[in-house]
Amino acid sequence: MKTLEIPTPECETGNYHTFCPISCVAWLYQKIEDSFFLVVGTKTRGYFLQSALGVMIFAEPRYAMAESEEGDISAQLNDQEELKRICLRVKSDRNPSVIFWIGTCTTEIIKMDLEGIAPKLEKQLGIPIVVARANGLDHAFTQGEDTVLAATTHRCPEYNRHTTDRRGGDMAKLVVADVAPNKNFTDGRDKSNRCNLVLFGSLPSSVASQLNLESRRQSVSVSGWLPSQKYTELPALGEGVYVCGVNPFSSRTATTPMRRKKCQLVGAPFPIGPDGTRAWIEKICSAFDVKPEGLRERENQIWKNLGNYLEVVTGKSVFFMGDNLLEISLARFLIRCGMIVYEIGIPYMDRRYQAAELLLLQHTCGRMKKPMPRIVEKPDNYSQVQRMHELKPDLAITGMAHANPLEARDIDTKWSVEFTFAQIHGSANAGDALELVTRPLRRRGDSTLGCRSLSRQAVDVYN
């Protein structure tokens, strides 16, 4: 196909700032209501969670550190016994349905055999233990969720076409409970057979039901989500089930159901922005041989509603420093909004999983008559700041380590992490995404102090 035309990203030194992938516990423990996340590692990681997650830590979260001490590192203490003691306490205090062990750099380096210990303790404690290695040696920020979901995939019940047919009644109930009753569904009995669509990626439940609704409009019902609201309600996976991702960073999760569960992957752009959402639905429809209806009108309507925001962003330039892997989709959306993207920094670029998204990006650039932005994998923050001084973008989308210093140098910034916490998926949330992007740009007009540069740093430092 067109795969060859996708530009190869450049690759820099990988000296960039991002969050440690264990930060995924922050949103996953909220998503999976009956879970407990145990981060196994040193104080460095615990302190990160504490300082990165700020206020959340005080809300009696269902996560904690199993803080390794000197005795653990030098193997004077028995890992299994130590973990057992801690998990027993977690079990008696919180009684979760599942404990996730998040492996860190520490457990990697000392080669603690979490995968080996987990099944043994699982038996002894009578509680499922899922191991995910979300460490900074291999992964960046949102990829943490990817490792957790990939590990959870193995725990999904086996989907069996025949038993499901027999339990047809149950199945129908499940789906009806999931989404508001729809005439189409009860009419076409044959449709229920082909609607074995499982979506993967953690989204707030309201956003998930919005996406369910989008696909239901095209008579494709979503049979389950990975992760589900509860661990005990994981969706069934197996031959005949289609899976589709909603987040650009879920490449491991995408391959696991394919390879291990014989599911079929629907490769689609991601439902971010009205354009992305439409392309996403179209791809799903084509997988199920459904002719999409009314998508164009719906998309146009959304764009029309976004008019005020588009006025602000059109013609403005943006620079993605790159730290959460949402960058390609966001850049594509912003180009469609009329912005010029100078550079898309991204921690890791899976060209196969993101192929459809990259094609849409290319297509969007052509359509909007904008140059194809430079894609930089494993960027070097220092060099990026130098480039930014030359390019003078209207907006830099960047981590908090750089945001204030860039603002002081008269470059407006948007904190990139907000995009991972805000609701930006689906047509209905396109406004929220643009709300984030336009906030610094709208603020700009109000500046009355007349002082543009507020940095004290000598000119030769960092430029």
Partner: protein
């Protein structure tokens, strides 16, 4: 392994980075995996720092794991040297490098051959020390490195300054109100005719560090950071130091008296002039600081005998305890600190001021203790503020760990005479305002919340209160209502009573007033 939800002090490398990035033109390179550079986020957000934090990571990834860092660290050092020409590069180990046991000293030796900047490895053991100890050690290390070298090159100036002068040691980034304290600290000796020679590490430049020994003496305002440096200069250069924290009226008076003592040792020989600060202290205490007058005023009368719990680092917890007890007449039932390795000195400081002392790093222990004694106000860290929220007790934040709220833009020192005003405000505003409290009680109050929520522990609540008995505690003033109810339940438990009737409440009351 230890199950941990929250920690009061961070890991060692944070301390090193805080010291290194407080100096001007010093760059720290962390030997750490991706994502461990969150120190930059902390500094950039909490301190609202406008400049790039001079900390980069030499990233440890799979390749490093397999083959060792090899040239990577050295290349990163040389690169920083060329790009930003720092005076000093501090190679900072993290838990990862301590487990990998890479020879950082070797990297430093090789890198310093080619780089114009000085390069040193931070000498901190990840497992043995925490953030504060590491900061103390790193500050000493950097100072020692420079002074020793200056001495070898005979570029150090060891003559004392003509007029009396002092160094301020231990003010640094992400410290609790350190910026404001620093300004106040400069003012305090300034008004006493003493020049400030150097402030380190905050804003200090290594170029001028050679002049450090020229000061007559050192001031170490905080217990946590700076004492090692002060001890070092005392040994090597015979510089005395003051380690009294000038927090609160009486501590500040002691502090100034100590200054007078140290200054006069030299002054008598150098200028034959004797400094006398008694008048200064007297007028400051009476008129510049409002705290002395405040504690005498009617307002403060309402605070007399109220109870408070205190928790924080050793410096702040000890000083605030002293202020509450000695200067305001408030009962401190339980001061505590998370500085375990400084426990002995802490005990000594608060001895005779309180009933019990708690030294722990476990926030649940602190929470349970506070819930048990039910003070009228808590003075602690951000964690205690949240404990207070849960059990409905007001809390004033007096110590790190901190939050962006603890980096106010306005002038809010904790030290010196202005600091005593700020502290008085903080304390007064934390307790329910006296008259308001009183009026609420007189008119029945709006406190209709059940008292059973006023506990962090899960036991209790298995008592059956009859409706009449239930209404009984509402006749008692708000701030003792919780305790009255609890006393009743304790009494009932002891006497094996399940159902609490109105008679039981009176029996309990009689018992407790015996």
């Amino acid at each position: 392994m230890k199950l941990a939800y929250w920690m009061y002090a961070g890991p060692a490398h944070i301390g090193t980075l805080r010291v290194a990035s407080s100096f001007r033109n010093v760059h720290a390179i962390m030997h750490a995996p991706l994502g461990d550079d969150y120190f930059n986020v902390m500094r950039s957000t909490s301190e609202r720092e406008r400049d790039f934090t001079p900390v980069t990571a030499s990233v440890v990834d799979r390749h490093v794991l397999a083959r060792g860092s090899q040239e990577k660290v050295i290349n990163n050092i040389s690169r920083k040297d060329e790009e930003q020409h720092p005076d000093l590069i501090v190679l900072t180990p993290t838990c990862t490098s301590s487990i990998l046991q890479e020879d950082l000293q070797n990297f430093v030796d090789r890198a310093s051959l080619s780089s114009k900047s000085d390069v040193i490895p931070a000498d901190v053991n990840y497992h043995r020390v925490n953030e504060l100890q590491a900061a103390d050690r790193t500050l000493e290390q950097i100072t020692r490195f420079h002074l020793d070298r200056a001495r070898r090159r005979s570029t150090s100036d060891r003559s004392v300054t003509n007029g009396p002068s002092a160094n301020i040691i231990g003010v640094f980034t992400l410290g609790f109100h350190n910026q404001h304290d620093c300004r106040e600290l400069k003012r305090l000796p300034g008004e006493s005719g003493i020049a400030v020679n150097q402030v380190i590490p905050e804003g200090g430049s290594l170029k001028y560090l050679n002049d450090l020994p020229r000061a007559w003496f050192n001031i170490v305002p905080y217990r946590e950071v700076g004492l090692m440096t002060a001890t070092f200069s005392e040994k090597e250069y015979g510089m005395p130091h003051i380690s009294i924290t000038p927090m609160g009226i009486s501590n500040t008076a002691d502090f100034v008296a100590q200054i007078g003592k140290l200054v006069n040792v030299w002054a008598s020989t150098l200028s034959e002039k004797i400094f006398n600060y008694e008048l200064y202290v007297d007028s400051q205490t009476k008129f510049v600081s409002q705290a002395a007058w405040f504690s005498k005023s009617i307002d403060c009368q309402n605070l007399a005998g109220k109870e408070a719990a205190i928790f924080g680092d050793a410096t702040h917890a000890a000083s605030i305890t002293k202020i509450l007890v000695k200067e305001m007449g408030i009962r401190v039932s339980c001061p505590g600190t998370y500085r375990k390795h400084d426990a002995e000195r802490f005990n000594e400081q608060v001895q005779g001021l309180c009933d019990e002392v708690i030294v722990t790093e476990d926030h649940t222990e602190v929470g349970d203790t506070i819930a048990r004694i039910e003070p009228s106000a808590i003075f602690g860290t951000q964690m205690e503020r949240h404990i207070g929220k849960r059990i409905d007790i007001p809390c004033g934040v007096i110590s790190s760990p901190v939050h962006i709220q603890n980096f106010p833009l306005g002038y809010r020192p904790f030290l010196g005479y202005e600091g005593s005003n700020q502290i008085a405000d903080l304390i007064y505003n934390s307790f329910n305002l006296g008259m308001e409290d009183h009026l609420l009680d007189v008119f029945g109050g709006h406190d209709t919340k059940g008292v059973s929520t006023k506990s962090l522990s899960t036991d209790g609540g298995d008592f059956n209160w009859t409706p009449e008995a239930e209404s009984e505690p509402n006749k008692i003033p708000g701030f003792v209502r919780g305790r009255a109810r609890k006393n009743t339940e304790v009494f009932a438990k002891r006497s094996n009573i399940r159902e609490i009737t109105i008679d039981v409440t009176y029996a309990a009351k009689e018992k407790s007033s015996l």
